[in-house]
Symmetry: C2
Subunit: 371 residues, 2 copies
């Protein structure tokens, strides 16, 4: 019960319009997936996610494996049932998280031995183990266990990790046998275009139902990420969804779509919301700023989310100043709505063959470095 | 635009049914008022408060005076507009808060000089100043500035404080001149029935549109509080609402109603919710308890709130274990709904002349000391 319809490719860019079908609904692409690390999108209820139009969320295998444990989630009937989310779910593989543990992990051909960031307990993630966990969690889309190298890294190490990722992808495919769940492959290779090409080629030969581009947005300058997309995305099959992992700033979404990406996820919108930073048509806005003390207008004058329809900058600033939970609830709703609306506008622009005009107008308003 | 209709008095108790009318709606009494200390009921949105049936909330003058300042709230068009709450609002007078500051405050006939608990800055609350603040905040019901003595206290001091409270009540009445806002008097006198009687008599002669019983639930055993209500409430006018300040545990609500109280407020339901303790028909439940790890049933099997309709104990326990905001949002919704529903059931029982039966059934299920 998974399919991807490519509806349209923009006439003069790689931007495309599609539909991902899962047993939990239809997802119009390009799409942004809010992140629900610990079986909850921080500060949001599932009902509110529905209200802002989210169709698919991401959850983290590493975190759920540690707490509450994949067996408990399985016992609850899977992640959808456990967290009462009726839409689709994608889980990452924990690859990014365990590699981010630095000294707390050791990589071998077998897998990654690591210590929990919570209690220091020892664990082993192998491709087979990760498949067991993801099958227990039961998302609609699972990701293969991959190795994500840090930036910068040598060509030699990036090659080694990329090749290991491919071998692990084969092992994941063998170990995965849940019919109502699909497995996406992940292209690695750091910022080396030759390695990315090999990775893409090898994974495509394994015939995954979807492909992610991993290991980007890990500290490299944005133009380098865009160049990797320019060279890698054309190597991926036209008729399968393409997912750029960990990317979620408004400008990067526009640039990713331009280069043929269909799916995105990132903690950025929810994380900065909890610190009081929100997206607006003009760029980012820091609500604690004194200049908003007497500002009785909405966060974003062009937005019609629950927050912007009902509350003022002055009130939300007050809530942040006195550490009230409603403050970060309101900014979280707004930031997620902003990105989902941005993706909707992008889809409409592609449908109207006007994506380049849309992009131009976007940049004429949005100041990338404004805070 | 304020009136109170006494609809019915229970045939064999003092329990009564009424309607308070303000320019922001009709409030069926007996009523529990959720507390929104800093212009927000912690963890709740105004929309959610509406959904659970809240008609009136309380907000704290002391806190709002310090942050964001009553002038800013006034500039926003008052508290209703500032926090976007369409129902009624009652503000306390800050009396309880400033007296709770202990060494940080000094009481004179003029008023109370105190230091802010936030930055140590010096302030003076006089009856006139508090009226200025409450008129700026703009609730439907304002409270007089009173002195709340701690428990235990001597008869001598309780008398002195009670007499001062009456003199301050007169000054409040003189200073208050906002037509669309009413001012309630507060009966004081500690646990001394003779002082309570004098206080009630003196305040009644000042003809307030409503009366609070203050200075209870400050650490004294519950039976002593009930005795004070037994002797004091009959001295208050039948045709005016009676408000028991700071009381909100389920059993105390039942006992207060039995003794003729119409209005209650308390931070208890929201505070314990944030620690993971919830009310159920059987008594309190601590969700972090290990025995709920595999419990895929609702918090309260008899409840139909948003939380109980959608989430399990196992999931909510997980949310608390990993410090997710959704956890305390769900327990807060449940606890407030529980109390509002309890009050609705109480009103129905009074209407059916079955309040004593209701009370008996309540205690046959609810274990007061269970946690």
């Amino acid at each position: 019960m998974f399919s991807f319809d490519l509806i349209k490719t923009n006439n003069n860019t790689r931007a495309r319009l599609g539909k991902v079908h899962t047993s939990h609904g239809v997802i119009d692409t390009p799409v942004f997936m809010p992140v629900g690390t610990q079986a909850t999108v921080k500060a949001m209820s599932p009902h509110e996610l529905e209200e802002i139009g989210a169709k698919i969320i991401l959850s983290n295998t590493y975190h759920l494996y540690l707490r509450p444990g994949h067996e408990l989630v399985k016992e609850a009937g899977g992640l959808h049932s456990f967290m009462n989310w009726k839409g689709s779910i994608l889980t990452d593989s924990g690859g990014f998280q365990v590699f981010s543990l630095g000294d707390l992990r050791k990589i071998t051909e077998e897998g990654v031995e690591f210590r929990s960031h919570i209690d220091g307990s020892k664990h082993l993630f192998t491709p087979e183990k990760v498949m067991e966990i993801e099958m227990a969690l039961g998302p609609d889309i699972a990701m293969v266990f991959d190795e994500c190298v840090s930036y910068p890294t040598t060509h030699e190490y990036a090659k080694e990790a990329m090749e290991r990722t491919t071998r692990w992808a084969e092992r994941c495919l063998k170990a995965h046998d849940r019919e109502d769940q699909v497995l996406f492959g992940i292209v690695q290779g750091g910022l080396y275009h030759d390695l990315r090409a090999i990775s893409a080629q090898d994974l495509v030969s394994l015939d995954f139902p979807g492909y992610a581009v991993g290991g980007l947005s890990v500290g490299e300058p944005k133009p380098l990420m865009y160049e990797v997309l320019d060279s890698t995305v054309p190597l991926l099959p036209e008729n399968k969804p393409r997912y750029l992992m960990g990317v979620g700033s408004p400008d990067c979404l526009v640039e990713g779509v331009l280069r043929g990406i269909d799916m995105f996820d990132c903690v950025l919108p929810t994380r900065i919301a909890r610190n009081g930073t929100v997206f607006t048509k003009e760029g980012k806005l820091v609500i604690r700023n004194a200049k908003y003390k007497h500002d009785f207008t909405p966060l974003d004058h062009h937005c019609d989310c629950y927050t912007c329809r009902n509350f003022t900058r002055a009130y939300i600033r007050h809530l942040f100043n006195v550490n009230e939970i409603l403050g970060l609830r309101l900014t979280t709703i707004h930031n997620l709505y902003y990105l989902l609306k941005l993706m909707e506008n992008i889809r409409n622009a592609i449908a109207a063959d006007a994506f380049l005009d849309f992009r131009e107008e976007f940049y004429s308003n949005y100041q990338v470095n404004k805070v």
